[in-house]
């Protein structure tokens, strides 16, 4: 017997974007159903480092070809920053949010100039921060290696425990009326007049607004409504050490190379930065690359030499739903009224911002930030701009 039900909004994807959006929608008493093929926060949202990037991000992961436009992201980052403080207040569970700040380091004069340039952009965007000489940086963090020549400290950087935040948002949404369907796969989507009909393994569900926040599966799901886009997902690695007594109070990043290091609440040191796993196996484990591991860890040891004696406990990979231009995606799908998407890079940092933005777009209010250039239209193939739900051409 198949289930049938009607909601205002159906969300496809149970990661941090789906959970935070469900929370915002149900807060306004909107009837929401969320569907995920596995369990909550299982994919990228569970595998990520959980960093909250507020100072300008580095433009390239190791192996990344196209540089992202980090200046464009700055006003979005400062907006997200404020919302993370709200999130901590609103959620009853401890999500281990830490806003102790972050350092970005440079090891050469050229890299130092990149930091100075980025600082100028941040000042324009209203992001607080300070430039530190190598001595000042070492006074702030005595653990820093000798090769650090210049650094920037931004007090708003931080992190949150990815394993706690997605379930926390989801549980809060459930208390506000969310219907959650995990381990359920979407088979088919169609449109009948102004309603979307989502067919899954377990039933058929209708809604007036449909949101796809399915990470690297975004293109798969969109193809069900006749929208053709290309995602360039990649699997990136994270490395985790044994527990240590507290000694690293900030996030430490590198301006040039993919490197982010922090000590999490449990005392373990997490080392990442976007180094690629061997390949991407969607929905399965993507094998760890030894070269990426040694590369990432060598950098880490150069910047924080105490890591030499610290033991690596585990490594893992997670899928990043990146696009060709390495930028975020957010907005209503052109030619498909009532269909919204969000995803792309830095989705974790932007999660509460995308949640509020989608909420506003769904309710036809003006969003607080301008995201018109981040719509999915830029990724749609020429032939993909047929009207969504129009099944005549298959």
């Amino acid at each position: 017997m198949t289930l049938m039900s009607d909601s205002d909004v159906i969300i496809i994807g149970g990661g941090i974007l789906g959970a935070s959006l469900a929370f915002e929608l149900t807060k306004e008493s909107i009837r929401v159903q969320l569907i995920d093929r596995s369990s909550v926060g299982r994919e990228g949202s569970g595998a990520t480092a959980g960093n909250l990037h507020i100072q300008a991000v580095h433009t390239r992961r190791p192996g990344q070809v196209i540089a992202l436009d980090n200046v464009r992201l700055l006003p979005l980052q400062i907006a997200a920053s404020r919302l993370w403080d709200d999130a901590e207040q609103e959620l009853p569970e401890d999500i281990e949010l830490r806003r102790t700040g972050g350092l970005t380091v440079a090891e050469s004069e050229l890299q130092g100039e990149e930091i100075l340039l980025k600082r100028r952009h941040e000042i324009e965007a209203g992001i607080p921060g300070e430039i530190l000489s190598s001595d000042e940086a070492r006074r702030l963090l005595p653990e820093l290696g000798d090769s650090v020549q210049l650094a920037e400290y931004c007090p708003l950087d931080g992190y949150v425990n990815p394993l706690k935040v997605t379930p926390a948002w989801m549980r809060a949404a459930i208390r506000q009326g969310l219907t959650l369907r995990t381990h359920d796969e979407v088979l088919n989507i169609s449109k009948v007049s102004s309603s979307w009909i989502v067919k899954t393994k377990n039933g058929q569900f209708t809604c007036s607004k449909l949101v796809i926040v399915a990470g690297p599966w975004m293109d798969d799901i969109l193809s069900m409504v006749g929208v053709s886009i290309r995602m360039n997902p990649v699997a990136i690695q994270m490395h985790l050490t044994e527990r240590l007594a507290p000694r690293l109070p900030f996030l430490v990043q590198h301006i040039a190379e993919g490197m982010s290091i922090k000590q999490v609440s449990a005392g373990q040191i997490m080392i990442g930065g976007g180094w690629p796993a061997q390949y991407l196996a969607l929905g399965e484990t993507s094998d760890i690359s030894v070269e990426s591991m040694t590369g990432n860890l060598s950098q880490a040891v150069r910047i924080l030499p105490f890591l030499q004696k610290v033991r690596l406990l585990r490594s893992w990979s997670g899928a990043l739903g990146a696009t060709a231009d390495e930028m975020p995606i957010i907005g209503e799908v052109p030619g498909a009224e009532g269909l919204f998407v969000a995803g792309g890079t830095y989705a974790f940092t932007f999660a509460p911002l995308w949640a509020k933005t989608l909420l506003n777009l769904i309710l036809k209010r003006v969003p607080a930030v301008d995201v018109s250039d981040l719509g999915i239209g830029r990724l749609m193939n020429a032939s993909g701009s047929q009207r969504a739900g129009d099944n005549r051409n298959g």
Partner: protein, 95 residues
């Protein structure tokens, strides 16, 4: 990579000082650390990183990680898989 033997044939069975958590003992080079601990009533090897309980070896075969101790070079050893060598100093991991 050359595998250095823990002790040459001449050194085996020589008496050597062995310091465990600051207390000095006398031991034979090449003997079993686990056996030595038992005989000398040293009933704790590591301090649990979360609960701070004193723990001792459980499995005797390198699985449980509760016999971990830090040697004089700062290396973490599993004493159930380590033999006594010259002038060894051991401190509980997690202490």
């Amino acid at each position: 990579m050359n595998v250095d033997d823990v002790a040459s044939d001449d050194e085996i069975r020589q008496v050597t000082p062995l310091i465990v958590n600051g207390r000095k003992y006398e031991a034979y080079v090449g003997e079993s650390l686990l056996g030595f601990f038992f005989e000398n009533n040293i009933l704790s090897t590591s301090i649990n990183l979360v609960t701070e309980e004193a723990r001792f070896a459980v499995c005797g075969m390198g699985i449980c990680s509760e016999c971990e101790m830090v040697d004089e070079n700062g290396l973490i050893l599993r004493i159930c898989q380590t033999r006594i060598r010259q002038n060894m100093t051991l401190t509980s991991r997690g202490a």
